[in-house]
Symmetry: D2
Subunit: 347 residues, 4 copies
């Protein structure tokens, strides 16, 4: 850790700073170059101390603090060939096979959910998505079926042998949702909701952590780290677009996050091209792009009849369209050395 000192720092402030740092147990060395001085610190530096020492930016002698230590470590990649797999029972996410997760934005009814689940299962999709608790910008729009939706997801899980991913919004619901879901989704609006993160971190269900639509990569990894510090390190990251000035699409899908996270972190990364674009016509091309960028999975909103959708029909792919794209998805996955779906492994 390097402290760059202010050129106009008073000697008394400098003494005070050194004394504080030494009081914290660091060995402090000073070096000057080009009229500027820096202090180099040696000593133990766990993340908690690091955060505490960083507060000294407020000190009058300090121009800047420089560290290349990562602010996260449990979710960091430690070696180039470290596995990044997370398992949902017998289903691996982060291995050679790319995992397809699909389903409606919201669970609306048993016929809607079951028709979808049946078609997905036949197509070799492994994970059924569907919201029972829906965060809605407007208090007047559909908020999901709640417990009844959760129950339907449980029934579909049984009936079709699919894994289920669904969102949990309230820390008080974690236990209830964990009883049904194979994978707990933290939605984009809750990525900065630290009490919820800690609550799912204390559980044992794997967590799908969506990127906050205004979160920097590092903040996202720190949110994952917050989950991991509580004991649960089965975390999957989901890129779903960020908010920018562009209005032609609902979000700007940041696919560069996929290879970047693969470098920085040991966690698998999936991509949601539905939220990521907000336009049905862009879902398939962005799915292909995500696969080419190295995504470990896709999370896609599909609906038997998007016009009837109670929410986000405008970005839902008709189920039949989704199915017809599978061969192209498969070709692109193979072009980059992956395969699509667990089924594909045995073909």
């Amino acid at each position: 850790m390097i402290f760059v000192l202010r050129a106009d720092a008073m000697e008394s402030d400098l003494q005070d700073l050194r004394a504080r740092l030494e009081g914290l147990g660091f060995v402090v060395e000073q070096m000057s170059a080009m009229g500027r001085s820096v202090l180099g610190l040696s000593g133990d530096l766990d993340p908690t101390r690091l955060e505490s020492v960083k507060q000294l930016r407020a000190h009058p002698a300090v121009a800047d603090i420089h560290t290349t230590l990562r602010s996260y470590r449990l979710v960091a990649r430690s070696s180039a060939n470290e596995s990044r797999s997370v398992w949902l029972g017998d289903l691996e996410i982060g291995g050679d096979a790319v995992v397809m997760m699909a389903g409606p934005c919201s669970v609306e009814s048993k016929p809607q959910l079951f028709a979808t689940a049946e078609a997905l299962q036949k197509a070799g999709v492994s994970v059924l998505r569907g919201g029972a608790f829906k965060p809605s910008t407007s208090p007047y729009s559909f908020q999901g079926l709640g417990d009844a939706g959760l129950e339907l997801l449980g029934e579909a899980r049984q009936a079709f042998g699919l894994k289920v991913v669904t969102e949990v919004m309230d820390p008080r619901d974690v236990e209830k949702v964990s009883a049904v879901a194979d994978l707990l989704q933290i939605g984009t609006r809750n990525m900065f909701n630290y009490d919820l993160l800690r609550e799912v971190g204390r559980g044992t269900r794997p967590v799908l952590l969506k990127r906050g639509f205004s979160a920097r990569i590092e903040e996202w990894l720190l949110a994952a780290e917050t989950v991991a510090t509580q004991g649960n390190d089965q975390i999957i990251l989901c890129e779903r677009g960020i908010r920018t000035f562009e209005t032609a699409t609902r979000n700007t899908l940041d696919l560069a996050a996929v290879p970047l996270l693969h470098e920085l972190s040991r966690l698998p990364v999936v991509v949601d091209p539905s939220q990521g674009t907000g336009r049905r016509d862009l879902v398939a091309p962005m799915s292909l792009a995500a696969l080419a960028a190295g995504a470990d999975g896709l999370l896609v909103e599909v609906h038997p009849d998007p016009v009837e959708a109670l929410k986000d029909g405008v970005q839902s792919l008709p189920l039949s369209d989704f199915l017809s794209w599978q061969p192209t998805f498969q070709r692109v996955a193979r072009a980059v050395g992956r395969t699509l779906g667990p089924e594909s492994r045995v073909r």
Copy 2:
């Protein structure tokens, strides 16, 4: 409500759309101009129906849906001279007097809090701010003193006769925090946390709703509406800067939000220039600017010794600096027809 139809809409789709709308109980009129057709809808349109009807954007005959109805109504301004006051006991926020809220980022110790509170009280500041539960991007940084911090706030409240505003992050803590705080702060990271919003909406404590750093004005008003739908309409909005591409400041303080919200909403609006800039040297000028823009109050981070601060010292104003700025704050408030309250009311 106007539905603009696609130029290439098929007649069958058009019939289907009309049937759906009439099925919803609307009287539908059609008008064509410049080769485009629009449907005009008459009938009751409460906000819930509005949200539901908007889902028809997914319909193949629809190019666009146009409404000038506001998506919120409980927090909307209904007339130009409607009062926007919220009361913390006998303290009015939104009246002629501008209300000053100040205190440390975090409650750190009794000496720190009491020294601050005493000085603020002497200077005529009405509301003491201070965090007991702190949301932190890093799980390794200071998370606040928690219950002990809350207790200290309660003691300072008693000792100095100040109102207290402090953040609540977890819906399970609302009752506990309400027992101490005069005003419950919803922090920027939780503006989209709808379960928390509903929980404080079911209570009776006034709510200080900070703008999400990535929230559009309309989303912010809808968050306030979410609180209000639960029964609690004592809501104060707090502009605290938004996230942009600029890196010279921590956030970009959007002061135009102040007069805009005064037009759109009946809620008072206060400004946080500390979070809004992240730089101690900009806090005073941005406080002045906020007052000139019509803010109903300021929320300022002050610390007896920012170098010692456990969190955000870099943006905390030394207590002595803050006090020396009061006459200038007062002059600007008066220049725009306000006073710096509440003492100013009796002068």
Copy 3:
């Protein structure tokens, strides 16, 4: 075109508005629904009149103006199977074959340029990129070799039979650069420089129009339209990332722009993954993603030895790495029904 009227519009204002619109030659119909009135306009509406009529948003009776007419038409897509090809002599861009454009950020010396050009030519790359005039944020950084760089590009073009793309920044240089370049690049900082756009629009050289890093898709198409209105409609769009709050990458590459532009416009779209990410390690995965998203070409910064680069070495791919990725590029191109490079067509 639909004018939505203010609910509180005075009758005199309404009369005034109708009179103005009728004075402009429109037939005006009025319709009311849900307590709101709209005016529908019939009549000729060329783009110039459209822009003029839009100014009436300032009228006191007008709440909003609604049109689904596109603001551009020369660059719009008129039918689903319209060709989008632009030709650089015998080289087609926008056809089945994806065109690879590569070369150094800046032309630095004859050895650097020729080593690069030779290797690219052998690898079947068709277009050599390289900057002679460089826009630099700092007046103290390398500004390119200028005329000498242009001359070297001309020599390399001759020696290796490659097409050349290079940037023109000043309207006074258009003629000079056109004498050497097969394709004139308008850089991201000049996308809003309308005098430059008009100048290249008056010429005959095809134009590579990079997206302004802060430009919305519609503004980008209007910049292309500005070129086209001057007579030159041989325009290629180049997505190169937009500026967002994310700091882990230099820009956020907006790949959804590729399929979206293919819908909206008849112009080919290429992608620059070097500027788009600013990180050497992300160039190859984002190249693959761009190909999968349907890009008509790639524009990649390569350098024989990036450490020696006078500019942007940090985002330049070593030439050898670039060459080793070609088979993977080819596989992904084929997976989505394209081929790589003109050579590949005859293999």
Copy 4:
């Protein structure tokens, strides 16, 4: 200048880096702390060398380069009490008196311009603004009257004794516009147009440099530096809002830039609340806020009849409204120790 080395740097790379730096004439010292090594450089470091050395970020041994040297120096503030005045003839900008600049978005006709100029002169406004050459996103909207508009500005300047500020877009027009204008405006779209910046830098007319709507503060200062390197250091900065995700206003006015630029730079800073908000109703409150934040002047779009405006009427303040706000502007200016000039200087 500090080079932080990669923890995994190979010894040979490290030797290579030291050799390169010493070859550049630096004395290099090495220091290690906490398992990381840094190199400190001593030696002459002018801005050109600084930019060149920064390119070594591409070196395999380098993790990061750290400097607190500013990248600009001609426009930097060198001492706390340095004057920041720029003079338009006998009119000081940057002194105690705040300078009001007002006028129509575009020069439309002699009656429009003269009516405006006369009223402004009577109200004590010193500078008339008005566009003759207008940058327009759409090629189909009004582009300004061009030379005829310039001529009208010259006539108004004579007739009313006002200073004139007007935009120049094309480097070929600098001489022509300089013959009429007292102050050359570089518009927001051209802040990154370096050939234009250099051209006005070679002239003698003071320059009003608007912030690019996507420019960081540092880039803006570097644009000013680019002008200054050519000899013309009479530069006024104009904050006019930046592009963000917010859609309720046309731009987000970044008033914190005013005090920040006053710290960093010796240049005066004026604010354009018209472009900065895009809404007529927000212009006056944001003018007040700008004054309170310490702005050295305001640039306001006014129009005798905004409904008739050929461009941007929606954000133009009716002339009569503008005049009626003057006393409040004056009160706020005085509250922060300024006056509303220039008349105020002699009072």
